[in-house]
Symmetry: C2
Subunit: 587 residues, 2 copies
């Protein structure tokens, strides 16, 4: 591995020098700035070996660094060569600070398709030079071709609103904001707006493409024609003009004099550059689809509940099996869970690579089992499984942490688990007024850990799509999240954790829907969370004395609800029902 | 009142027209953008009648509006004439939105001394025109003269660090940031940096002036010479050059080519304009004094504890007296409290106008009793008293809410009080890692209210100075506060509340110092709050069943601490000791 990456790094440096550049940025990003990227955009992994979902490399002539966040600290050290790369925590060493420290005033190349306007603006004190072709692509001889999977219509029975209605509604919002058109570069925005789905990337059912939405509700979709079967063209209708992605530059050039909405945080800076060159007025604003997409309508909420019921059945069958299994590994267990999900109706695949971490592997926050890392799940240890499914009616994401037995869990493990669970429950029970953002509630999920001097190095919750991306903006429950007020219909994860490096990891994750809280005649609107995930928490890891009476009551009521909801769906498996009865017995 | 304000408004409109302006801004601000302003800067009150501590008027030819926040909703309606002024809640109707709605593209005058660069930047869609002389001053015939109280040295025995050391330390910070000098326009910054105090404004012991701090630790102080007695000149020393405020423009003009730090959020835009005109490079950054001033050193922390001990004695004497008093009024009660404080050593005056609100007056969040509003404190009602003292060794700010008796408080009142107290205690007990800001903890103080669909329309906590302003930046505990990480030595208020309009107000306020929390060998640093205020909460208003066992334990331990600390200081007053014993008895 190492000599291969050494050769690639040398080749990149040679191309840099030939282009008159002193450095080059290699973010983990594709041309849509999405999280799940096609193989052809895995430039960071190709260059460095690091396969995490977030990170960036900076290559200079004489030194190079690769940055990622706390989720990937261990993985970064394992996958990259310390002789080639400084490995840095992105919160402690900012790439822009590192760059100006080591290359002040120098010419640094970047690919304008792989960085947003805000991302680019962070690099000050150096001369940032846009390249016409990505330098990594120049050295990547066997780079895979872009995916060309078909885009298919997504039934309004699942979407709950027709594309024409969505476009009319958002077009009206553009008119109100004095904007003539909006750029769309997030494939999940296309998927939501046009009610289409695809399979260009793993885990997220989108078709890669771009679009322009106009204030009159019409739109232009830029997507390879071979990806659009006749049925999809008919579904899109005449108000959506179709063109190849190569036509995008020309279409933007025709917007001179128009006011065009561009998202400086989430869209490639290439768009802004093209619009400015065309003489369009760039109006900065969030992706016009992002907030409407996050507010699940009644049909999508019902779909989320239905999907979570089937997902609950699959996970409970898996946990019941696991309780009796011996000699299994992280890989084989994850495969059994996938097989259980695949039995369910409307299942389309996993929503992300399952994190199946036994013992010390659980402490690697975004662990992904590989052939090399796979290990046995042993007796009397902590096992963490974070996984999710894509169903036609909804996306799921759940983490459970279990004790493999047959002995009792040590008291310190139970204390750690129960503090995480106390945080999970505090957030699940939260009631809060309209206007509050997730950043303001994050501390609820941490307070029980903080009281013991403990914490976890990741956010508490992320948005989740409706048969779309399992990580969806604009709202989140994290101090780092943007201050987006929570609103009815948002679907978010509630996933506090705790990680003891080299020993075990704990995470307790359910998905929750934001709902109105009713208090009679109140001047102010209040909100609360409806938990939609339906799987018990492992009683063997809970120390009831550490939970408040109200938290214990929540837990018992939740377990009763899980049992009542799932039992009728487990008629074929009396042994699973028996396990479920034990797992949900009152504490 | 009304015809007087009508005449003033007409006069201002005439001056506006004569200057070719379509409108004029009248913020509640002085030339230092401070909260407590001299009489000569009370332009908003002169023009509109509104005497609240935050607000703004906008006058157009045909309409006018006055804006303030939720603390002042009732007061604004009472003090201003609805026939002359639209009265608007500044969070619901932003002045800048109102202005562009009613005067898009028009010429709007403003005084560059009374608005920050950020404040000015909010006004888009109109032409903002700086005036050389404030238009209100032109019509204000009997405008008071600026105050000229002496500036006196503040003993290092209270300050804990010599001015020369502070200047050297901050000068080094400027050098590190590549800055040659920093603008200082906040009199509290001058007071801290030079270890001087004054009495130019009520409640805040500052001397009005301006300064430039240079990277070599030298400084220039711009303050009327008549305010600087010989002792103060000697204290300032030779490294601080003295000049009249009129010399400021010339001094800024001499900074061409220098990098000068300017705070766009808190300093008059006049400075930025002058620096740009001079050809200086304006480097945006917070007032260089603001953060160091907030981090109380060991001497200041000890001073805060000592001042709160004396303040606790005064407030407890007052509360014991109040319990037996009959026929008192809001005014007479506040006067008794002030007299008790004045008995204490090192007392210099109130830190803000006491809020003495009986019954429905308590619901006016920043109520100030006047001759007209003063009313009797009646039996069997809720009485709220929010007050504070300026002592040479510290500034105090405390609110207590009491039941006047002799009957029992109604259950709903006790429920409201106890939910507020539960929030107060949750914050007092909080433990949190370094990096957390007050905005992230604000929800702890509200959760118990939120669970019942209740809330309060003000922040939970503000910074407090060391014998300086009772409202001090940069940290606060509020969703609206800037994300300034809490650090050891910050002194903040903890003051959740609840207000039932027309009935009563509840607020529970102590001051807390941020301290390190010790957990043995932890990777991360944790922080906690040390409560320094020492006065019991009224047991007659507490419903113990609504507090968690941990909260009740905190309350009992706090009451025991109050009793143990104050009893030795009440040897002259056995009846007060008796009251204190009853007030702090275990619940």
């Amino acid at each position: 591995m190492s000599s291969e990456h050494n050769a690639r790094l040398s080749a990149l440096r040679a191309v840099m020098a030939a282009r008159g550049l002193d450095g080059f940025l290699v973010p983990r990003a594709d041309e849509h700035l999405g999280e799940y990227v096609p193989e052809c955009a895995e430039r960071l992994a190709y260059l460095t070996g690091f396969t995490g979902s977030a990170g960036m490399a900076i290559v200079l002539a004489e030194r190079a660094a690769v940055f990622s966040d706390g989720r990937y600290t261990l993985q970064l050290a394992q996958q990259t060569d310390g002789a080639l790369w400084e490995r840095l925590h992105i919160m402690e060493s900012k790439p822009e600070a590192w760059l100006v420290q080591h290359a002040a005033g120098r010419r640094i190349g970047y690919d304008p398709w792989l960085v947003s306007a805000e991302g680019l603006a962070r690099f000050v004190g150096v001369e940032m030079v846009a390249v016409a072709r990505n330098l990594v692509d120049e050295i990547w001889a066997d780079r895979p071709a872009p995916p060309l999977a078909p885009a298919v219509p997504h039934d309004v029975a699942f979407a709950g609103e027709r594309s024409a209605e969505k476009r009319a509604r958002l077009g009206a919002a553009l008119r109100e904001a004095g904007q003539d058109a909006a750029v769309l570069s997030d494939p999940a925005s296309l998927a939501w707006l046009f009610n289409i789905r695809g399979s260009d990337v793993e885990f997220c059912p989108v078709a890669l493409g771009y679009a322009l939405l106009f204030a009159d509700g019409r739109a232009a979709l830029f997507m390879a024609g071979v990806k659009l079967p006749e049925e999809t063209r008919a579904h899109l209708g005449e108000a959506v003009t179709l063109a190849e992605p190569e036509a995008l530059a020309g279409a933007l050039a025709a917007l001179g004099g128009k006011v065009v909405r561009y998202d400086p945080a989430n869209q490639p800076v290439w768009f802004r550059n093209q619009l400015e060159r065309a003489g369009a007025e760039v109006s900065l604003g969030a992706d016009v689809v992002a907030l409407p997409r996050a507010l699940k309508n009644a049909v999508e909420q019902e779909g989320a509940r239905a999907a979570h019921l089937r997902d609950g059945v699959a996970v409970v069958r898996f946990l019941a099996w696991l309780a009796g299994a011996r000699g299994e590994t992280e890989s084989s267990a994850a495969a059994v869970l996938l097989a259980q999900r695949a039995r369910g109706e409307r299942f389309k695949g996993e929503s992300f690579p399952a994190i199946s971490g036994a013992g010390e592997h659980g402490a690697i926050i975004h662990y992904r089992v590989t052939e090399e890392s796979n290990r046995a799940i042993k007796p009397d240890e902590v096992y963490l499984i974070d996984s999710g499914g894509q169903y036609l009616d909804g996306t799921t994401d759940i983490t459970r942490t279990v004790w493999t037995g047959p002995g009792d869990a040590p008291p310190t493990v139970k204390e750690h688990v129960t503090r995480v669970l106390a945080g999970h429950i505090a957030l699940a029970q939260a009631v809060f007024p309209q206007g509050v953002a997730g950043a303001h509630l994050d501390a609820f999920a941490r307070a029980a850990l903080w009281q013991a001097g403990l914490d976890y190095d990741h956010g508490t919750g992320h948005g989740v799509g409706a048969y779309l991306s399992v990580h969806e903006g604009p709202a989140g429950i994290s101090r780092a999240a943007k201050l987006v007020a929570l609103q009815v219909g948002m679907l978010l994860s509630n996933e506090p954790g705790f990680y003891l490096e080299g020993a075990y990891g704990i995470r307790m994750e359910n998905l929750v829907l934001v709902q109105a809280a009713e208090f009679g005649a109140q001047a102010r609107k209040f909100l609360r969370f409806e938990t939609v995930t339906l799987v018990p928490f492992d009683r063997a890891l809970i120390e009831p004395g550490l939970l408040s009476p109200a938290a214990l009551e929540w837990l018992n009521a939740y377990h009763a609800r899980v049992r009542d909801a799932l039992t009728p769906l487990l008629g074929d498996a009396p042994e699973v029902v028996e396990w479920l009865n034990r797992a949900t017995a009152r504490i």
